[in-house]
Symmetry: C2
Subunit: 341 residues, 2 copies
Amino acid sequence: MMKLSDLGEFGLISQIEKAFGKKSPGAPLGIGDDAAALFVSPGKTLLATTDMLLEGVHFDLSYTDFYSLGWKSAAVNLSDIAAMGGIPRFSLTALGIPEGISVEQVNEFYKGFKALIRKYKVDLVGGDTCSSEVDLVVSVTVLGEVEEKKMLTRAGAKPGDRIFVTGTLGDSAAGLELLLAKGKGLRAKGKDVNSAFRIPHSALIKRHLRPVPRIEIGRKLALSGCATSMIDVSDGLSSDLAHICEQSGVGADIYAEKIPLSKEIKAAAKQLKTIPLHYALSGGEDYELLFTVTPSKLKKFRSLRIPSREIGVITRGEIDIIHEGGERRRLEPTGYNHFRK
Amino acid sequence: MMKLSDLGEFGLISQIEKAFGKKSPGAPLGIGDDAAALFVSPGKTLLATTDMLLEGVHFDLSYTDFYSLGWKSAAVNLSDIAAMGGIPRFSLTALGIPEGISVEQVNEFYKGFKALIRKYKVDLVGGDTCSSEVDLVVSVTVLGEVEEKKMLTRAGAKPGDRIFVTGTLGDSAAGLELLLAKGKGLRAKGKDVNSAFRIPHSALIKRHLRPVPRIEIGRKLALSGCATSMIDVSDGLSSDLAHICEQSGVGADIYAEKIPLSKEIKAAAKQLKTIPLHYALSGGEDYELLFTVTPSKLKKFRSLRIPSREIGVITRGEIDIIHEGGERRRLEPTGYNHFRK
């Protein structure tokens, strides 16, 4: 294992440069100058998003491999571009690396990062690498572009619009729970980790460690003109729906039994003795797209065959969840909220 | 003092939104959507830079106030845009905040950040706020723009070009030393901090805590077409000159006695019993501009009256420093290098 102290900051930057290729048509300088120089498509609106991932808060190196961490650092930012209906173009990575992390581990991080961004033809165009006192610190910025008139925001949902979500919800949170349980919970209770999990949970764990941003779907929706608002499910359905409702000045009725759950989460929930719906509403990190479709565009929308499920309707009232049997309850935003205990 | 746990993540974001104003002509969505939507001037090249500031590595809260930290976080990024000859336009801040930091302290950070970015009409358009386990973590991204043909990079210096630097060098490093000495060094030696520093060192300390990016000078140079390469002095003259030489494939002769030193650093160096030149070569964080001017443009350059000093010449050889009396020595890059001890 090579030590970062043997390579030095500029040695590391030069390795990253080699791994990603110095130049690209959109970023003619490559990395390594004071700032990246970028060509944005004429007439497009620039999109910019930044997300920080901190050791001990967003990830734990006892169950996260560096490849997955690099992948996920890119994915969470790309997902924000997807949620605007945009095309991701460029990325910048800032890493704070504590002693004890090897060059190989940093390279693994960048391998995972590259594997995801190259899927979407995104370039790494700059960043910062520095030593950190205690924890591994990751901060990624992604730039993208979108036609101004096609851009989808959190504002724009109107009463009567139908609410849709792609994929299945809660998987990532359940995957995290399984990772944590594997690590300590079950052992503390004296249970054998392997026998407690008879069925393979790798699908859930993969969704937590290597989420896939819904770039193509976001783009298709934006170009179609069918959607009125969009957000990615990063904090949990209850919180992300609240963001749309707040910014749009509307309410919503959500039907509990319509919320899409994977067969994997149903099986895992039985074993974890918990309710899958809880993960879907409060878990977050699914990086699915939550969007609203205006009634007049429903036919066109269905013709697009976007893999998604209708889960409710925008209203003039509060945000409610209607459970099987008709019981109506206020849906409080119980997703992740930093600083709150 | 208000606790962040009482305000919560979304309460904090809403406070920041109020402090900075929700929208601007260039950033019509303001902050608070999945990504910022930005209008870049047509035909301009986009510039992007990101810099991380970590507690215990880049700053110490025992001698850095939050206002200065916010100011400096913006300044180090704006300086990168200045070094390309660009106009800074937009900024994004990612903060990882440990327990014990109050809402008032975070607000002070943003006051300092705002004070600097508003000087240059830069908007805060997005970011991320999260809790941190141990240390305060700051990561800032700044976007700017420049005319493609006017952009200045580290590559472009040619043998015979004269080397110039703005302002004075070493002040920031000396200021840091004074802050550290005030805190512990002198006390450990049993000396009285106040009597040991008879002359006011506030100018040096201010240069460390609240550096001013040379935006106007960078811009003037770029538009003039006189400069062939440029970098900001963030790592120390020896390292930053090496960056220019490496990227341009050239060498340089630097004249030690021409390196601009402030009267404050000369006075402080006597008291600190060290050589000011050491700070200038290895200190870094001065955020002055180091640039080269082609001989045929020297007359035009001088007519611009850019406050700067000629310190040497680009050569085909190595990077040498010529001391008073004519002694020539190899100038090794001894500026800051993360991971090296």
